[in-house]
Subunit: 168 residues, 2 copies
DNA sequence: CTCGTATTGAGATTTGGTCGCAATAAAAGC
DNA sequence: GCTTTTATTGCGACCAAATCTCAATACGAG
């Protein structure tokens, strides 16, 4: 549990924005920080219920938006299989990574690339976009799915984290 | 009307895959090539109906998938406002571009960046993805939406095309 | 502790997209 | 050209994801 700073930040955000601090909001915070990778609202709700927590679906959806507004969670649809639902992910102060997702099986790999980050900024500036709040996503095919006789189905929705700054 | 080659390609694809050439398919082809930017299935359907064409919603959806399978149209959700629906775009032989989309107003700018394309390939290879079929999307904020007192709403859903190879 | 009001829960509703099936119409064969 | 076969169409029902409504609840200011 090293997300104490983050919880402080969440509380500060809530109070600063005139929102109340409710048991549901804290529980949701805990849950999303307990989760490892990308998770959707439905799964999050199920996970909480199965722990005996009483929280409604609507509340999960509503408060996820709050968590995103506070800057502590990101919400995005990743391409490929799982793009039917929004996926949420907790954010650790300032740390940013981008996503490489397999268009066939939905596998997600997180990566950090200084090179691409720089170009991203260039491109934004060149086209009248401000160079902040980027989100970059590359949709491609993982080796397994690209293999000749690939089954082309959801194999394992695992997300692995790539070592920072591969130098690429 | 310079999309004669493309129509040939579509017909070739249909026959090659054992599909029939129907009036609806040709009409849909014409419509998507008559459209300028990204358009969703619902809008496409409405546009066709308003021209007096009789085609059902289901048929539009079904045949859009076909058009994508033929390689003549792309289907993707772009981040930001309009990410509720899939957006379609006709594809001119082999030409590829990526998207820069405003997370607030949904404005989309198309760009081509050799530099980013190269890094994309590197990153794919580095993480066990095959370096083909990329789709790269940068979500950020356009100047208008990032401005201090921005209204933060859908201003104009126009898509402008950026000149090829900015050298960036 | 009391009170005003934001928040919650349950279910209805909306939205985007797919499905099942009878009617229709490509296109192959004669 | 006329059948025959069978993919395709259109319609409405259906499904999933997310949002909304509104009465009941509970946070937190005073």
């Amino acid at each position: 549990m090293a997300e104490i700073r983050e919880k402080e930040q969440f509380l500060a955000y809530l109070r600063g924005a005139g929102h109340r601090v409710t048991a549901e909001r804290l529980a949701l915070f805990d849950e999303i920080f307990a989760q490892h990778g990308h998770i959707d609202a439905e799964e999050l709700h199920a996970a909480m219920r199965s722990q005996g927590l009483k929280i409604s679906r609507a509340t999960v959806y509503r408060n996820l938006d709050l968590l995103v507004a506070s800057g502590l969670a990101s919400k995005q649809r990743l391409g490929g299989l799982r793009d039917r639902r929004f996926l949420y992910e907790h954010v650790h102060r300032g740390q940013h990574h981008d996503h490489l997702v397999c268009a066939a099986c939905g596998r997600v790999v997180e990566f950090v690339s200084p090179g691409i980050a720089a170009l991203q900024t260039e491109i934004c500036r060149a086209h009248g976009f401000v160079p902040t709040h980027h989100t970059l996503e590359i949709r491609s095919l993982c080796n397994a799915c690209a293999a000749p006789g690939a089954t082309l189905g959801p194999s394992r929705p695992t997300a692995q984290r790539a070592g920072g700054g591969t130098g690429v």
